[in-house]
């Protein structure tokens, strides 16, 4: 007798259906079971002839019985009619147009890897790169980028070798897809980084300033290089030019009007020696180089 290893089409179809129904089992377990079933089905087919499924019943029932007898877990969906949504999803998954979309799966494999890294970074409260907003700082931005690349490589590797329809894979993918919610929410609500400005900020100081330094006293000199005293200064709008900080010094020699009102725009400001009511050095002034003035004095009306 010549070896006849060719499997009749109806037997191979039946086996494929049984295999599909056992899709959630670990591959070694499933292969062991099918290695047992296949020769037995061929034996039965060659002996009894006739339709395999007519003799053995629907492949799904056969698989369920096999699984149960082998003491393997029975998936929940076998216990009752499948929810319509699941049936519709299966039908959709078999649609050729959807099958075509599966060619885009590698894009998802990269995306899920990124989502996982981003979600871990969010959970760990990591900061994010300012320049490349999508890169989390895992120590450094470079390490973050490296983690994303490593996760993407692992994800693609897994994507290439795991069966697509396995429940565990579908479930894991759904969980990863769910991670998109916190990650996208983070990008939506993140505060744009505030530019750190290092140049000095102009803050108006009260009173008189020169190059940003407060002026605390003014020493007027005549063109004959003589220090003037009690010179009243006014601005162009006629406001007295006061040095506000000095007004509160109790030792300040404050000029008063005949009616007793304080005059605070008299320069140079002088200070009494404590407890004396006397200015010790009325002619004291900073060392200044008064230039010789060549311009004739203004002709003033007498």
């Amino acid at each position: 007798m010549t070896p006849t290893t060719a499997v009749p089409p109806e037997v191979s179809e039946y086996l494929a259906a049984v295999r599909a129904a056992l899709d959630d089992l670990p591959s070694t377990e499933r292969d062991d079971l099918l290695a047992e079933v296949e020769p037995s089905l061929l034996d039965a087919a060659s002996e009894t002839g006739g339709n395999v499924s007519a003799r053995l019943g629907p492949a799904e029932d056969f698989a369920a019985e096999l699984r149960s007898a082998a003491g393997l877990q029975v998936p929940l969906r076998r216990t009752g009619p499948e929810p319509r949504l699941l049936v519709a999803a299966r039908r959709l998954a078999r649609d050729p147009r959807v099958q075509e979309l599966r060619r885009l799966a590698p894009i998802w494999w990269v995306a899920r890897a990124y989502l996982l890294v981003a979600a871990i970074a969010l959970a760990a409260g990591a900061s994010w790169s300012l320049r490349y907003f999508f890169v989390p700082h895992l120590g450094t931005a470079w390490l973050g980028l490296l983690a994303i690349a490593a996760a993407a490589a692992l994800s693609i590797w897994l994507g290439l070798r795991t069966p697509r329809a396995a429940h565990l894979v579908v479930g894991a993918n759904l969980v990863l897809l769910g991670l998109a919610i916190p990650v996208l929410s983070h990008f939506r609500h993140r505060q744009l980084p505030v530019q750190v400005v290092t140049e000095p900020i102009y803050q108006p100081t009260q009173g008189l300033t020169l190059d940003g330094v407060p002026v605390t006293n003014i020493y007027p000199f005549s063109r004959q290089r003589r220090l003037l005293h009690d010179v009243l200064l006014y601005t162009g709008s006629g406001a007295p030019l006061d040095v506000p900080g000095a007004a509160i010094d109790p030792q300040r020699r404050v000029l008063r009007t005949t009616s007793g009102k304080q005059v605070l725009n008299a320069y140079p400001i002088r200070y009494f020696d404590p407890g004396t009511g006397q200015v010790a050095h009325p002619g004291a002034a900073p060392k200044v180089q008064i230039p010789r003035i060549a311009t004739p004095p203004l002709p003033l009306a007498k």
Partner: protein, 111 residues
Amino acid sequence: MDVSQLLRGTLDAAALAVVAEQDGYGYDILRRLRAAGLAEVGDASVYGTLRRLYRAGALTSYVMPSDEGPHRRYYGITERGRAQLEEARAVWAGFSRALTTLLETNVEVTP
């Protein structure tokens, strides 16, 4: 109650008894079980049971080339399988005695 329900708890012992008698492959064991009177035993139940007994160490297995098709996986009984079979025999003897006594007693069954 039909035979298939009774078989559920006793298929392990039946399969072990068949293999203890002589090593066999899946379909051969199925045929011998049916020939012994268990006509209602399901194909998938037998194949699944054989795999489970093998995993549990009650059966050993080896592959034999076949002229008629793919290689066949033969099962033989192990020491552990024999012990399990002995235990099942004792349990079954006691159980069947008790049930026989019960069922053969003329008891009026009121619905």
